[in-house]
């Protein structure tokens, strides 16, 4: 086990070009051990390229990256001894049974045949796959494949596990199972780097998040910090009388000290507020001016809103430079 001060991942100015496309364009990361760190971004943001470089599968064009202090290019063998990778596409062998896949991994990690078989059986059991152990992987459901894929990644417990979009395309139940597995791995002492394009997934699992867009990190911090960066709370007001909206907008802008956003519905408007106490004052001012809200809500912003604010486009906006990810595939 490494001493605590060694970072699980440290990158500096990491770059990767595919032709003219800057898939990863100068990324600096510092991931302490023992946490779930999420790299969040839309398709084509450079997430997979980043992981492939960190996992020694792709040579960076510039900058440096170390995993537990080992350089991913110069010392790739040492890196490989500490990590495991689970790809977007489950990279298990379709032509083998689930159990055989895990035996294969165990053998290649250096276990003897009996030990590899035992470990494979234990893992199939732990991941609820025993009933399908003797079946070809090509007959597995998406969720089963993903679980098998993760099991294959922890035949030897890695110190750092890369999970590249582990729940993409999974139904909600399978997704919850994968989340449970991630939490269990974390509790077992494994550092996890998780890429996802799902904001709720990052929100649910991650201790820290880096938001990546077009090959660069555009925001980094804890979930709370990121949410705070776009305002503490979101105030949402719906009026009884749409005709009063202009007046209400003026009043709220004045009281809250922030711009008020007019919604599509002519009776609705919203605002992001730094200071909670101002919300009550503002609502009081509306009442005194005889403007009656039909309803109002005060909520913390979702990561969706964070993403929209940071990038100017939505997280699931596919148009944002798919070229990078295509080239990486």
């Amino acid at each position: 086990m490494s001493s605590p001060p060694t970072l699980a991942i440290e990158t500096s100015g990491l770059r990767k070009l595919f032709g003219q496309t800057k898939a990863v364009d100068g990324i600096d990361l510092r991931v302490p051990p023992g946490i779930v760190y999420s790299v969040l971004g839309p398709n084509g943001a450079g997430k997979s390229t980043l992981i492939r470089m960190l996992a020694t599968l792709l040579r960076p064009d510039g900058g440096t990256a170390t995993v537990f202090g080992h350089d991913v290019v110069r010392d790739s063998d040492a890196v490989r001894r500490r990590i495991s990778v689970t790809g977007q596409y489950a990279s298990v062998d379709d032509a083998l049974t689930g159990l055989e896949n895990l035996v294969l991994m165990g053998r290649l990690q250096g276990y003897t045949w009996p030990k590899a078989r035992q470990r494979a059986g234990d893992l199939m059991d732990a991941f609820g796959l025993t009933h399908a152990a003797g079946r070809l992987v090509s007959t597995y459901s998406g969720g089963m494949r993903r679980r098998l894929d993760i099991a294959a990644s922890i035949v030897v417990s890695p110190d750092l596990l890369f999970l590249d979009e582990p729940t993409t395309g999974l139904d909600p139940r399978s997704r919850n199972q994968v989340w449970d597995i991630v939490r269990a791995l974390l509790a077992g002492g494994t550092t996890i780097l998780l890429t996802t394009q799902y904001l709720d997934e990052a929100d649910e699992l991650a201790d820290r998040i880096a938001v990546v867009d077009q090959g660069t990190v555009i925001a980094e911090g804890t979930t709370d910090e990121l949410k705070a960066s776009v305002g503490q709370v979101a105030l949402h007001v719906r009026l009884r009388d749409p005709g009063q909206r202009d007046k209400a907008e003026d009043l709220l802008t004045q009281e809250l000290g922030v711009p008020v956003h007019l919604e599509g519905d002519p009776a609705e408007m919203s605002a992001r507020v730094e200071d909670n106490s101002r919300v009550l004052q503002a609502l009081g001012a509306l009442t005194r001016a005889s403007i009656e809200p039909a309803e109002f809500s005060v909520t913390r912003p979702s990561l969706d809103e964070v993403f929209l604010t940071l990038t100017g486009h939505k997280a699931d906006d596919q148009s944002a430079g798919d070229a990078g990810e295509e080239a990486a595939a």
Partner: protein, 277 residues
């Protein structure tokens, strides 16, 4: 299913706490493991056998009865000349599978997983190739068995036939490195077989497998003479009929060695640098 959450948690926890790290697998052990993988996959898809058995059988029957009368007076006369040659074709057509299999692994991401494991990487390719020896053995047994049934009478006896099989397997093993290299660089498995056939068929016909070169124009005789497939067919013929001189066999072995020395390191290097540029 409501209890599955605690269930998964507890079990995975229990398994993770061990944190043991076995010693690195040796190159031999890693190769054997990849060989095992190939055998298991073969076991699950016995349908592959149909290719391995039918392809040589079809060509053997077709050419024997199509060309036999014209080339040698009668099919059974022709068979004595032709069978050791078609044995070369039987194994060479199988070598293409090596490339297709490697390419499929790369495309499906199976090799990505292998590449993040700390074992001797060439084992992934070497294991595949060693496993393919099984295919060659089946294809050869099939071809020669059918030949015997049709009236092929090898003057070299069982020992001669076995020696010929040995030389052909060594030769096919060396040629499979060429297709391993193509398998690494090709974009999709279909392209591997496409490219390979363009290379293989002209080489097969431009050899002494089907006819004696004496009737060919002299420029073609030169090409036939340097074609490694001709050396393999010559060795196979000489050993099966018990007329083998030292150089009959030696040229086939030298060709195998040269092909291996050139293409094995090339395939491994291409594989190692694949996608890391």
């Amino acid at each position: 299913m409501t209890s599955s959450i605690e269930h998964v948690d507890d079990r995975v926890m229990a398994i993770l706490v061990t944190h043991e790290r076995p010693p690195k697998a040796s190159p031999v052990s890693a190769t054997i493991t990849h060989l095992w993988r190939g055998i298991m996959a073969f076991k699950h898809f016995p349908a592959q056998l149909i290719d391995i058995i039918l392809l040589p059988a079809i060509f053997l029957l077709l050419f024997t009865y199509l060309f036999g009368g014209a080339f040698a007076g009668s099919p059974s006369q022709y068979l004595q000349f032709f069978l050791p040659g078609i044995a070369v074709q039987s194994v060479i057509l199988m070598t293409v599978y090596t490339g297709t299999a490697i390419n499929t692994d790369i495309n499906k991401g199976v090799f990505d997983r292998f590449r993040t494991l700390p074992f001797w990487q060439p084992a992934a390719i070497a294991g595949n190739l060693v496993g393919d020896v099984l295919r060659y053995l089946i294809a050869l047994t099939m071809t020669i068995g059918m030949g015997l049934a049709l009236g092929f009478r090898p003057g070299g006896g069982i020992l001669g036939v076995l020696a010929a099989m040995g030389v052909l397997i060594v030769f096919a093993f060396s040629v499979s490195w060429i297709f391993a290299a193509i398998g690494v660089v090709a974009s999709v498995p279909e392209r591997v077989s496409g490219t390979s056939m363009i290379v293989i068929y002209p080489l097969l016909f431009m050899s002494n497998i089907f006819v004696r070169p004496e009737t060919m124009p002299s420029w073609m005789q030169v090409l036939v003479k340097v074609n490694p497939l001709s050396h393999a067919a010559t060795a196979s013929r000489a050993l099966m009929h018990g007329t083998a001189g030292f150089w009959d066999v030696m040229w086939a072995l030298i060709a195998s060695l040269v092909i291996t020395v050139v293409f094995a390191p090339l395939a491994v290097r291409l594989y190692r640098s694949k996608n890391t540029r």
